[in-house]
């Protein structure tokens, strides 16, 4: 009973709520079918490296079937439906996600490695909210401000990443469907399962076959989808490198494109910040979802006069983070999504050390199996270090300092990226001054990593173009 001996007992979420099939086919024209070439790949639980399922690898013929099915649905069924009817289908999907929330959350944490508290409290509710929000737009598009008769574009090819598998599927499908387009969705190779469960929900919701098709596979499947001539619009979320390849690949085709790419966001803490909340914001900014977040606050810029205070508070706080079993309800930091990503993080961290930055992690026991990386803070970082320039996409924070607001802005903007930024200060006029000057699509002032379907999200410069969410997000799927 002595103080200090209180350790939380394991509190694992029950895994048996979700039934994972041994094999998954492609979701084409309303049903699950085997891939033409019969090839498949294994998706792992990154926390244990245990295989979860064999998933179909879609080839060119499958992509063609999917696009053809989507084209048919666009021309004959979904594309002909009045907005009010589309709305009802989307409301059904929103409700069904909520009904099966626990199932989605557990499956997401198993396939992705993210903590159950995040899949349960963030990914799944936001995915449902995204469908609910966009459902309401379906019959109100003429009021969206894009002219009197906004029309859908056609078949949308949507390629999504592994960091928020279900949520990104919702971000892509909901606005596309609300505006009357049909979809071919390509989930990430390492995280296909929740998109396939969503396909099941969509089938149960009774959407006309072909309205949504889910083709699983690796980058080559995505490339096939991008270059298929039947696709009128491409929406991609992922790395800047692949985004550039896609933009180049569709050059001259007239295909519409939106890109949501990488980031290297500055999280700027002024000396008059609400320090405890700023520390929470820093933690949430970079350690949420293991730092696998394109808008992660990966560059912490602290005003020099409070740098020591903030760092000591931050380190004290990081010591309380709980890393481990993603299904444990008390886990704060889950598994790195893949071996490949772990290697990338490890490599960049090694570069940070080699370049002379000081590496620090709280005492942290890493599980023996699976892909893990401890929360890591680099101090003594300068703008020229690779860890201050390149997107690490992992739980690694680079700390820099500044003296004046001008210097903070200059450093924050000194990057080819421009997705997001954070500002912490109690001074209202300074918040607005900063918000005006930071070159980023999302500015979180005195908060970080907040998302909402009504709030447009997307980048400046090499972080991509186009917005997702809100009225602004509809433009990506309308021929106005």
């Amino acid at each position: 009973m002595a103080g200090g001996s209180w350790e939380y007992a394991p509190a694992p979420e029950a895994r048996d709520i979700v039934t994972i099939r041994r094999e998954y086919g492609l979701f084409l024209a309303g049903e699950f079918v085997p891939p033409a070439a019969g090839e498949s790949f294994t998706t792992l639980n990154p926390a244990s490296e245990e295989p979860l399922a064999q998933v179909a690898a879609a080839g060119a013929a499958d992509v063609d079937r999917a696009v053809t099915a989507a084209r048919d649905a666009f021309e004959r069924t979904w594309g002909q439906l009045p907005g009010r009817e589309r709305a009802k289908y989307l409301y059904r999907i929103a409700r069904a996600i909520a009904e099966r929330a626990r199932e989605f959350a557990v499956l997401e944490s198993l396939d992705n490695g993210k903590p159950i508290k995040e899949s349960r409290d963030v990914d799944v509710p936001l995915a449902a909210a995204h469908f609910f929000y966009h459902a309401g737009w379906a019959d109100k598009l003429e009021y969206a401000g894009y002219g009197p008769g906004p029309r859908p574009i056609g078949v949308a090819g949507q390629v999504i990443p592994w960091n928020f598998p279900l949520l990104m599927a919702a971000w892509k499908l909901a606005p596309a469907l609300a505006t009357g387009n049909t979809c071919v969705l390509k989930p990430a190779e390492t995280t296909p399962l929740t998109a396939l469960l969503l396909a099941e929900v969509i089938a149960e919701a009774g959407l006309p076959p072909g309205t949504v098709n889910v083709i699983t596979g690796d980058g080559s499947t995505g490339a096939e989808l991008v270059r298929h001539p039947g696709v009128a619009k491409i929406a991609f979320t992922g790395s800047t490198e692949v985004g550039k390849q896609i933009q180049a690949a569709i050059a001259g085709t007239g295909k519409r494109l939106t890109l949501e790419l990488g980031g290297k966001a500055a999280n700027v803490v002024f000396d008059d910040a609400p320090l405890d909340q700023a520390v929470e914001g820093i933690v949430n900014g970079i350690f949420f979802n293991q730092g696998h977040v394109c808008c992660a606050g990966s560059r912490l810029l602290i005003q020099e006069s409070v740098a020591d205070t903030v760092l000591s508070r931050l380190k004290r706080r990081l010591a309380t983070l709980r890393l481990g079993d993603p299904l444990d309800k008390n886990t704060d930091i889950g598994a790195i999504n893949s071996r490949e990503q772990l290697d990338k993080i490890t490599g960049l961290v090694a570069a940070g050390e080699a370049e002379g930055a000081q590496r620090w992690s709280p005492p942290c026991q890493l599980p023996a199996k699976g892909f893990w990386f401890p929360p890591t803070v680099f101090t003594g970082v300068s703008q020229s270090h690779r860890i201050a320039r390149e997107e690490i996409f992992g739980p690694v924070l680079s700390v820099l300092t500044f003296r004046t607001p001008e210097e903070a802005v200059a450093k924050a903007n000194n990057t080819p990226y421009g997705l997001s930024a954070g500002v912490w200060t109690e001074k209202g006029s300074r918040i607005l001054w900063m918000a005006q000057r930071l070159r980023a699509g999302v500015i979180w002032a005195n908060t970080y990593n907040r998302f909402d379907p009504a709030s447009p999200f997307g980048g400046y410069t090499e972080s991509g173009f186009g917005r997702e969410g809100g009225r602004a997000g509809l433009a990506a799927y309308l021929d106005a």
């Binding site: 005195n446 410069t461 809100g470």
Partner: protein, 310 residues
């Protein structure tokens, strides 16, 4: 007050052939010929390459020797534009509207000159040229009214599910390269340029290769208006030479390929992908109402969150 919307055509303007440089009749004064230069950072340099090319009428008559901008001129124009971005995008929208309206006033005063240049460069009738010139002036007036409205049309307050105030505002993307359509030379140019700068961007324009003269005259108007140096930079020369430089330039944020024939766009779009440029191209009826698409193409939506608490 004379009806300035319908300037009296000069006899010279109606003639075919070397209209801007008529032979000098005996006993009259020798006219002063204009040198058509580039417009970069508020100055009128010759091409650093020392090159020029003949700007001809449709019948092949040489109207003038326009500067043939080089890759380095394009680079200099981008530098000038980048330098102008903070001041121009940071100016109040009201101020930008005032400045642009002033340009319209000056354009009106030069209507006859523009009309003459269009007639000579495009071979259209005086009435036809006059129609597009007045449409261009009216379009400029239309855009002059937009700076302090576009944020209200393209922005929003977003009702998020939580104790946050959340708003979205459009901001200029930065430096926009514009390949102006070949014709109508002034109306086309104004239609692609005005939306770029009305929204607070700085522009590097590749003028119509075939009919560059109105673009240079427009530059003269801009230089004598209150548009800050570098906000508009105009290059004359070969589109095929300049457009790839701008499309590949890593400090250009967006490119409007309207003036590039459809077949030529693919390669430029590929180059534009190097730094994820925003690419826009829209062909169409220049005399139709333009809508907001050209402005929205060069705006970024920025969304700001802040908690609501005590």
């Amino acid at each position: 007050m004379p009806d300035r919307a319908r300037p009296t055509p000069t006899p010279r303007g109606r003639t075919k052939g070397p209209a801007v440089r008529p032979p000098v009749p005996d006993g009259t004064r020798v006219d002063v010929r204009k040198t058509y230069k580039l417009f970069i950072g508020g100055a009128f340099p010759r091409s650093e390459s020392g090159r020029s090319y003949p700007a001809t009428g449709p019948d092949g008559t040489v109207l003038a020797h326009a500067a043939r901008a080089s890759r380095k001129d394009a680079r200099d124009a981008v530098v000038a534009a980048r330098k102008a971005v903070p001041g121009w995008s940071g100016a109040t929208a009201y101020n930008r509207g005032q400045v642009l309206y002033r340009v319209a006033e000056l354009l009106e005063g030069r209507a006859a000159q523009f009309t003459a240049e269009c007639v000579q460069g495009e071979g259209v009738s005086w009435a036809g040229a006059e129609r597009t010139v007045t449409a261009a002036i009216d379009r400029w007036v239309w855009y002059a009214g937009w700076p302090d409205k576009v944020a209200q049309v393209a922005g929003s307050a977003n009702p998020v599910a939580g104790p946050y105030f959340n708003f979205s505002v459009p901001e200029p993307t930065g430096v926009v390269a514009v390949v102006a359509p070949a014709a109508p030379s002034l109306l086309g140019l104004v239609s692609v340029l005005a939306p770029v700068i009305a929204t607070g961007n700085a522009a590097v324009v590749v003028a119509s290769e075939a009919a560059p003269l109105p673009a240079v005259t427009l530059a003269e108007v801009l230089a004598t208006s209150d548009v800050p140096p570098g906000v508009v930079n105009i290059l004359t020369g070969y589109t095929a030479e300049l457009a790839p430089v701008l499309a590949a330039h890593m400090d250009v944020n967006a490119i409007d390929l309207t003036g590039v024939a459809a077949g030529g766009r693919a390669e430029l779009e590929r180059l534009a992908a190097r730094n994820v440029k925003r690419v826009f191209a829209a062909d169409g009826d220049w005399e139709a109402p333009p809508g907001t698409a050209r402005m929205l193409a060069f705006l970024e939506i920025k969304t700001v969150w802040h908690p609501i608490g005590i």
